[in-house]
Symmetry: C2
Amino acid sequence: MSSSGAATSVRDEVLAANDAYAASFAKGDLPMPPGRKFAVVTCMDARLDPAKYLGLEEGDAHVIRNAGGLASDDAIRSLIISTSLLGTQEVFIIAHTDCGMLTFTNDVCRDKLREETGADASHIDFLPFPDLEESVRQSLARVRETPFFERIPVSGWVYDVQSGRVSEVS
Amino acid sequence: MSSSGAATSVRDEVLAANDAYAASFAKGDLPMPPGRKFAVVTCMDARLDPAKYLGLEEGDAHVIRNAGGLASDDAIRSLIISTSLLGTQEVFIIAHTDCGMLTFTNDVCRDKLREETGADASHIDFLPFPDLEESVRQSLARVRETPFFERIPVSGWVYDVQSGRVSEVS
């Protein structure tokens, strides 16, 4: 735990929680490659705890998260490293109901940023989507069309934030 | 839980874990914006469970993860959505010791991919880095130089995979 830097309540809470975690930490010998040899791509949404909803312990699986749970270029970068260099053999892409990405368009986001910060975001595609399952299918297609994943099973899912349950997207 | 698709042992395990999670799920009413109003960027590494090492419950904070825990373009995209549209007010960037990104170069990765898949990855920058703390500083600089985060405190940290403890990068 570091005591440097400006104190904030969130910082203090986070550091206290980390102190408690480290005090009873007994997983310091785990190897770098994921023990259960799979990777998950899911959304950054605060309501999602992929370790809990998929039953992951420390050391089990790579977890990649971004706004939307998309197979973005950066998620593809991470997945190539995961499968090619660190031995994962299966990929789960998991979006979720009530996703924030369903609630805005690039223009809405850019207008809000211009109003609030005066800065221009016209060069940024925020990758919003109007249809959840279709977005998952597009992510699946992106991964499956990438030649580096030819031997990797990839499946797409929706996590229901009301029930905690995942269901497959066909 | 879905029973469709080809069965794999990992899939069966994951679905059984999800079934157990959903069976006692009692957090179906959480709002979309993170309750504790912060966002974390950290690595996809399997040994890291940010909810555990930072003390996060479902609904608390956005968690963005990629290979390296970098402020990549996609992490910046996610952070803008987090701060501008979903009300987060602080960002923690958390790399970790023994990161796989310290162990290869773009050329090593591209050669391996060409050998294993025959496919050309010369257009992909895998963003490996030779110095952990310097990488965190570069991510901090990227976020701080982005005009959309002017009022957002951003700090950089290293999580020690042997101790479970975070320490700040100055």
